[in-house]
């Protein structure tokens, strides 16, 4: 069965620090990849997505992610975090021609001012 693994359960860092969140998936076929952010009490919001083309994807709020097919990875990065980046981050995968998204367990990011 398709699975999505997020390596970090909780990350705590200071403002201006760099952030990298790991995401690996298990499916060997063609996939679409997503990163969502969920602020406290709010719904999931799309940060970025990869469907095809340039494996380095830039999203909103200064986030980017790199798809490395050989490693089945889609890690999220931000060079300099802000206090407002405190949230839960979910990696999600959609298998080509499937309907649903499969989510990772999520990573809670706490940014200290």
């Amino acid at each position: 069965a398709q699975s999505v693994s997020q390596h970090n359960h909780h990350v705590i860092l200071s403002e201006a620090a760099s952030l990298e969140l790991g995401c690996n998936y298990s499916y060997g076929g063609t996939v679409n990849l997503f990163w969502y952010v969920q602020y406290p009490g709010q719904h999931l919001q799309l940060l970025l997505k990869y469907f095809s083309g340039d494996p380095l994807v830039k999203g909103i709020k200064g986030f980017e992610a790199e798809f490395i097919k050989s490693k089945f990875s889609f890690n999220l990065r931000k060079p300099s975090v802000q206090w407002s980046d405190t949230a839960e981050y979910f990696c999600a995968v959609r298998v080509l021609n499937d309907y649903k998204l499969s989510f990772g367990a999520g990573t809670t990011v706490t940014v200290r001012a």
Partner: protein, 113 residues
């Protein structure tokens, strides 16, 4: 821009009662997905509908049923509620199989007491 609308936002029910959650996709979206997110958990896929037909089924209990109507809105019916059903239920919509992405609603927070 119109978003995915879910109602109600909050719902408190007693054990063994029945609840109905509603989801209105954004205009032109013909696919609806239901997810359950327990406290501190990743979203778990329940069920999806495309053009009023069930398109996929996940870990949805037999006590739950859902359908999509002619106007593409969907309702999730939950019977014989249990304490463990307390969670955030959110729905997402897409055009077709999600090749163009997904839009999430804010969710219905169900508390079973």
């Amino acid at each position: 821009a119109a978003g995915v609308i879910q109602s109600p936002r909050h719902l408190i029910k007693e054990k063994r009662e029945t609840a109905t959650l509603k989801c209105y996709p954004i205009p032109r979206h013909d696919t609806v997905y239901w997810y359950q997110q327990g406290p501190g958990q990743d979203p778990q896929f329940l069920i999806s509908f495309y053009e009023k037909m069930q398109s996929d089924k996940g870990s949805i209990p037999d006590r739950f049923s859902a359908q999509q109507f002619s106007d593409y809105h969907s309702e999730l019916n939950m019977s014989s509620l249990e304490l463990g059903d307390s969670a955030l239920y959110f729905c997402a919509s897409s055009l077709g199989t999600g090749s163009y992405g997904y839009t999430f609603g804010s969710g219905t927070r169900l508390t079973v007491v």
